[in-house]
Subunit: 471 residues, 2 copies
DNA sequence: GGGTATTTGTCCGTATGTATG
DNA sequence: TCATACATACGGACAAATACC
């Protein structure tokens, strides 16, 4: 029994029962009340509208006689199924189909953003969810710490230390629903009066969010080792957003020397900060694991951002910020104005997921799986070695294919599309302020979502698309 | 087996094994590696560090001889339990206890923000969660619509229409993790260059969030019918944030006439908007249900905000925004820069919770429960009728007790504290810009979290605290 | 799983105001 | 002016069905 919010006018000449009648009739005609739906009982509606029951009954009676309602004794009044109304209903549908626009029938979509969800330990997650819901119950549904559950932040700080060399205490960890939200928090913590330097090309999404948040932005070109620190210094920026462990989209792993230069830049002047986005550091195939920039920071200048969206699932919207001590006080003040955005249930489930060792096992497993996909894909693409140059292959879940035969990015994508393969243009990741720069013809090839079999086939199709000389 | 992110310096004079050794020792001393924890096997660590196994073994050997590690043959290396270290560990604890500050042993806490979680249908929620995790699986863990799941938005729009008279289509509904986040989105949609008028007193939290987001703010006094529209017009504001169905903290229900005045104000000039916060409209004990302001809006001037934090549980961080059509285009543009912040699992569970009728049943049940608590509390407090005047008792889950015997707010709270009852000062809700205004001596009494028995006792204690003449 | 309190549509008696003759 | 009929609105009683404990 739903409550109907009808506003009655006792003084109007129109009788009360008729006002009720026409309101409900209108709703049924507009599809707001669906066939089969139950109406409030005459008692409850009369109580909530503060009218007599017979008034409501009169209205219902009328609707029954007109075929809109039917009454089921001892059960309630229900909306009838009326044929003529269905056309009205379907008239509303097209709005929804906006979601399913541009239906190119891709055979394989090499998106660099997807992840492998085939091998997610669904059963474990369900089991943990069940346990969490059984054990904590009432406490779990109460408001929690705005920075996130202490236990989870502790688990994350320990994990970050051991896997990424991040040096932090749980107090420095702040959880949020996704990177976007954390960047908003950062805007609140740092204030908006900053010039933020971003790598060019960079993670466009973060760029847009910064823009939206009112930051001033500047693009600093990257060379083969990452952001060029001299140009960063020249830009006048006081905050630099970098992805040292696996630059997106280029896949550059920043060597130690450049990292130290960055840290030096940050320390040189009061108020400078580095934002280290460590978005897919979990996956790495070659070379030593380079610990996070944050771990080498001696002057409290690095703000570390990580996420579980890549390593677990995009729908688990839990990201984390590790703040330097120098920002903790400001964060405290800014945060008391916000409540935690992360589902507490998800937090607790994730907490157990990490603590019980499932996260490590999952990571190890995914490393193996992505590693195999990586190897297979790379191996098959070797056939194109004269035509494309693969870079960024040491980590992450995508490759960068640069064309050395003069084929333009646009043509490369068109040729792939002919084979029903979707690849992603590098040019998309250029930032607006760096529009003038030259941009090499290259595409991104994500291999996370496809199976090994599919990757092999996708590679074949790419060879067919790009293997011939320039048309 | 965790991965250790040790950064080795092959060129340094310090031998490799010693670098490994001191890193791990450091970790154990700092409590980052806990007693009993297993270290990576010598094989895996040597592989990931790209050093020889004997180098790792040498480091482990050293640690074993110093008592930090123990080796369990054919199983692994484990961190030893060392007595001296516990003191270090506990030395870190006090930081955490910050959460449990100001430990006044309250007997009853009449917080106006709490809700009754005793009667939440945990089993239903668990069952639905289980079904959702079983049915949707892979799809559920993928990234969803940034505005929220279509099905849930559809269910919400239908509910809002029927229960609150809100006129909207699912496209207008945007889900977000809590009101704070939605207000941030609004800032992105509307831009920050606005003067926002808030009721005085108002919901302080929202005030702070607006402030943080960079809005200019002004306070408009309320009379017994809500925000005074003439003063609003005089303030020069172009956005007004109002709570017509149950003003917080005063509990005023805005009569239709005032609502129409507000709508008229909004329509008078291009670019004006009303933000209607309908935070606890679900609970109402007297008088007709007045439909939401939004339903009476003919000029697309009302932005409606609602939440499930009050009606279901604070931990279910799902709130919703209903945007007028005039803002949809701007929202589309702003939103594409953000991802949804709401756990997709929670969204699906809530969707089923609403669709299967559990939400209505729960609301009906809570209405009954709160209604009984409301009646009992009010009845018992009648003994104080000469001393305090109760207002705001027609809706919501808190009352406002105004002192008519000259007792100051401060003293009233102190006297309640003597009886170990926590009540909340009305003065807390005044906004900064309205500091000069006179503020009546009054306190907020929330009755949601206490049982009927407890409420009766709490009322007794309040009578003891306030029943005597002014000391 | 079973008993009870609550809720349900239905039926009916009543009151008030208005129109009709 | 009075009687009658009708429209509108209110609330109590009944038995079946359901929800809750």
């Amino acid at each position: 029994m739903r409550e109907l919010a009808i506003s009655l006018n006792t003084e109007a000449s129109e009788p009360l029962y008729e006002q009720i009648y026409s309101y409900i009739k209108h709703d049924i005609q507009k599809g707001q009340l669906l066939p089969g739906e139950r109406l409030p009982s005459s008692r409850s509606l009369s109580a909530s509208l503060e009218v007599s029951r017979s008034t409501v009954e009169l209205a219902y009676e009328q609707l029954i006689s007109e075929g809109y309602l039917e009454s089921v004794p001892w059960k309630g009044y229900y909306v009838c199924r009326i044929e003529g109304l269905y056309s009205l209903d379907t008239g509303c549908r097209p709005v929804r189909s906006r979601q399913e626009k541009e239906q190119v029938p891709w055979k394989y979509d090499l998106t660099p953003n997807g992840i492998d969800l085939e091998h997610f330990p669904y059963d474990v997650w369900r089991k943990l969810t069940r346990n969490v819901l059984l054990d904590d119950r009432k406490e779990l549904f109460q408001q929690g710490d705005p920075r996130g559950e202490w236990e989870l932040r502790e688990a994350i700080s320990r994990y970050l230390h051991q896997a990424r060399g991040v040096i932090c205490r749980p107090e420095q960890v702040i959880l949020g629903a996704g990177n976007d939200y954390l960047l908003m928090l950062l805007a609140a913590i740092l204030g908006r009066k900053h010039l933020v330097a971003m790598e060019s090309p960079t993670y466009k999404h973060a760029y847009r969010v910064f823009e939206q948040l009112g930051f001033l932005l500047t693009a600093v070109p990257v060379d083969s080792r990452g952001m060029q620190v001299d140009m960063l210094a020249a830009s006048g920026a006081d905050i630099a957003y970098v992805m040292p462990s696996h630059q997106y989209p280029l896949g550059i792993v920043m060597p130690i020397k450049r990292r130290l230069e960055l840290l030096k830049w940050a320390s040189e002047k009061q108020g400078r900060y580095l934002i280290e986005d460590d978005y897919d550091s979990e996956f790495r195939y070659k070379g030593k694991p380079i610990p996070a920039l944050q771990g080498a920071d001696r002057d409290d200048r690095v703000i570390y951002i990580g996420t579980f969206s890549k390593s677990i699932a995009p729908a688990i919207r839990i990201s984390y910020l590790v703040l330097p001590d120098s920002l903790l006080a400001q964060a405290e003040e800014a945060l008391c104005r916000f409540s935690s955005t992360v589902s507490r249930i998800d937090q607790m489930v994730l907490n157990h997921f990490i603590r019980d060792g499932y996260y490590e096992r999952h990571l190890n497993r995914m490393r193996r799986i992505y590693g195999r996909k990586h190897d297979i894909f790379l191996e098959r693409l070797k056939e194109l070695s004269g035509i494309i140059k693969i870079t960024g292959e040491n980590a992450g879940v995508h490759l960068l294919a640069e064309f050395r035969n003069g084929v333009s990015e646009k043509e490369a994508i068109a040729r792939a599309e002919e084979q029903k393969i979707r690849v992603y243009p590098l040019s998309e990741y250029r930032t607006e302020t760096a529009e003038g720069q030259k941009c090499k013809a290259a595409v991104l090839l994500g291999y996370a979502t496809l199976t090994e079999q599919e990757l092999s086939e996708a590679a074949d199709l790419l060879i067919r698309a790009w293997g011939t000389a320039k048309t």
